[in-house]
Point group: C2
Chain length 385, copies 2
């Protein structure tokens, strides 16, 4: 099994890109990653995307993006795993390198959501859940995550104000991220006073709707040393799944797939949680950020809010988390999110995170969730000395 | 790089399954493959599918199918490459085994098309082509393939009656396939007298709309020898792409991606066209079958009809092709087609093809196309002695 390295990264700003189509965004992010690596020819193009069939009436994105980049002949496919499409595309990209089939893989995550109406996007998001059971019964994706928040608060006596700490930190981190969708500070009071989207979730604890694309270039580690000044090694890339829907599970306050993918990743990398210097978690809803900190071993069950209150997830804290703003503030263009996380970890490990640089960051971890804790990918990246 | 073997295969009948949903079909085919291999636990589930987001409003099929099979914890993703989704899913499954990440992979292709209206399916199929250029201009998928037929006939002086030979053979082969959608014989006259779908394509030279699922179980070859009485080795699994749309290309009568994927596959397997005993080609439209025979080296340019007329693609002929009926007669449930091809080759190589058995078949080749010759996968399978 060959080791994999990331030699180039790039992304677009997350936002309302009314002047750009799905393909434009994917191409923009890809070209930035290619410029970063000075590598313009690849063996494969994998596109992480969830909603293009429904929202853009366009499938076959793999070949579409490959051709738009002038990469005739490259292998190409779209990889879909709901909101974990990006992380899954990176995972499969690593397999193509590890198997020896590819010496270079471009993975680009892309989603374009703001051209659609809110009901259309709500319907598209519900496709991450069981259409014939959950969605048919009227359970929206936000509604299901509201159940998670309610169960979590009840199980551990956590208050809504405690959960609201998470997006406050995310927005603080996004202030210095030129690619972030929401670059303004918020307060716990602002979160609590924002409208309820699905009780008990407030608007400011939910990731918004956005367009964006992010890309990474993968190569075998051995070749990457020559091709890049600052390759980053993929120390582990794993995935696990859980029972598909929330109503099938015993516990809403912890995700088995986070724990299983993390255990496998830490084992593969020969590391433990305390070895991680910078963390990206999938905070599509703030409560998911807290649960992730606990599932990954950075806080005890029900105690994540204490860690956050003590500054533990800020730059300079115990485990700096979502240092570019996370899903809440950087933005959550669904199929792109898992790739944005990898791009951001690479920037930290290369020392290119500017004002949000985690000093001496050597190892990063990214958690990307599809569905309500259903499909979860784990990536551990490490600086190559 | 570990070698990959197929240890189990299964499929549903292709047809109008009004009593079964997308997940039911995927589960039925998967369980048959599992029963065949006596293997009920796998590391990954890959689902080849194109249209579920648009037609069923259901994404996240990887985890959905994994959970429906009781495979909690398995890695899972949907793989999409238009009509080559199935072949691409098999290709990526092979990478997971080759990389050492998986000791067992279930690949299931599934599509459910008959619940939708004809305009809906026509729209869904057009998502394989460029929505913003071709589809927006009113070019349906059938219309684009009609241009291919017209160009092919003009370039080589081939008559419609010559092309009509291909579906006649497919229907003949399907008579003995209990899983085929159309089990009745047709004649060249019947093809020529059937309604025009898009000039010059007649109804009986176009694959129909159908529901179906097919599944294969992959393992490392070394372990497969112990796990199965009759493992089949994947000697090569490759993919290539071309310029995305027909209007970008110089030549409509030959597909670069077929030639490139075949060249790579033959090289990897250390074989040549004449070493292949049984062939599956992607005859979504009859003319594509002829072009494939030529692109793969089984007939000279413009001469495929001669080969067919001489019985060359029938059982006992030079290169028995689509021996279970092909897309035309077995059926073409889009995302499942590439997996059906693999299932059928395995049945031939194991000597389980019944009345359509190719005597002594040792090596098979499958070509699966996404778009109008855009993404093309190649698989060469070989009997393990």
């Amino acid at each position: 099994m060959r080791k994999t390295a990331i030699v180039g990264v790039g992304c677009t700003k997350v936002g309302e890109h009314w002047d750009k189509g799905l393909r434009d965004l994917a191409v923009e992010a890809s070209l930035r990653a290619m410029d970063d690596a000075k590598l313009y020819d690849v063996d494969y193009v994998l596109v992480g995307n969830m909603m293009s069939g429904y929202l853009q009436n366009q499938e076959h994105l793999g070949a579409l993006v490959a051709d738009s980049l002038g990469l005739r002949g490259a292998g190409a496919a779209k990889i879909e795993a709901a909101c974990a499409s990006g992380g899954m595309a990176v995972h499969i990209g690593c397999q193509l390198v590890a198997s020896g089939s590819a010496d270079s893989v471009l993975v680009v995550g892309v989603e374009k959501m703001t051209d659609a109406t809110t009901p259309e996007v709500t319907k598209a998001l519900a496709m991450a859940e069981d259409q014939e059971y959950s969605a048919y019964m009227g359970a929206s994706f936000v509604g299901l995550n509201a159940l998670v928040a309610r169960a979590y608060m009840r199980a551990y006596g956590v208050k809504q104000e405690d959960i609201a700490l998470f997006p406050v930190i995310c927005h603080k981190h996004a202030l210095n991220n030129e690619f972030a969708q929401f670059r303004f500070p918020i307060t716990v009071e602002a979160v609590m006073n924002s409208p309820i989207v699905a009780d008990p979730l407030h608007l400011l604890e939910c990731a918004g709707i956005g367009d964006g694309a992010a890309a990474v270039l993968l190569m075998p580690l051995e070749e990457a040393r020559g091709a890049s000044d600052s390759p980053v090694e993929v120390l582990a890339s794993t995935v696990s799944t859980d029972k598909f829907s929330l109503h099938q599970r015993d516990d809403f306050t912890s995700f088995r797939a986070t724990r299983a993918s993390a255990e496998a990743a830490f084992k593969k990398a020969g590391l433990r949680a305390e070895d991680i210097d910078v963390l990206e978690v999938h905070d599509a809803f703030a409560v998911l950020g807290l649960i992730a900190l606990e599932d990954l071993g950075f806080a005890e069950r029900g105690k994540a809010a204490d860690l956050i209150r003590e500054g533990g997830i800020e730059i300079g804290g115990e485990i700096p988390t979502n240092t570019f703003g996370g899903l809440k503030a950087r933005g959550h263009p669904v199929g792109a999110t898992g790739v944005y996380q990898i791009v951001e970890l690479v920037r930290q490990l290369r020392g290119e995170a500017g004002k949000n640089q985690v000093p001496g960051a050597e190892r990063g971890y990214a958690q990307n969730i599809g569905g309500v804790g259903t499909t979860i990918t784990a990536h551990i990246l490490g600086r190559v000395d």
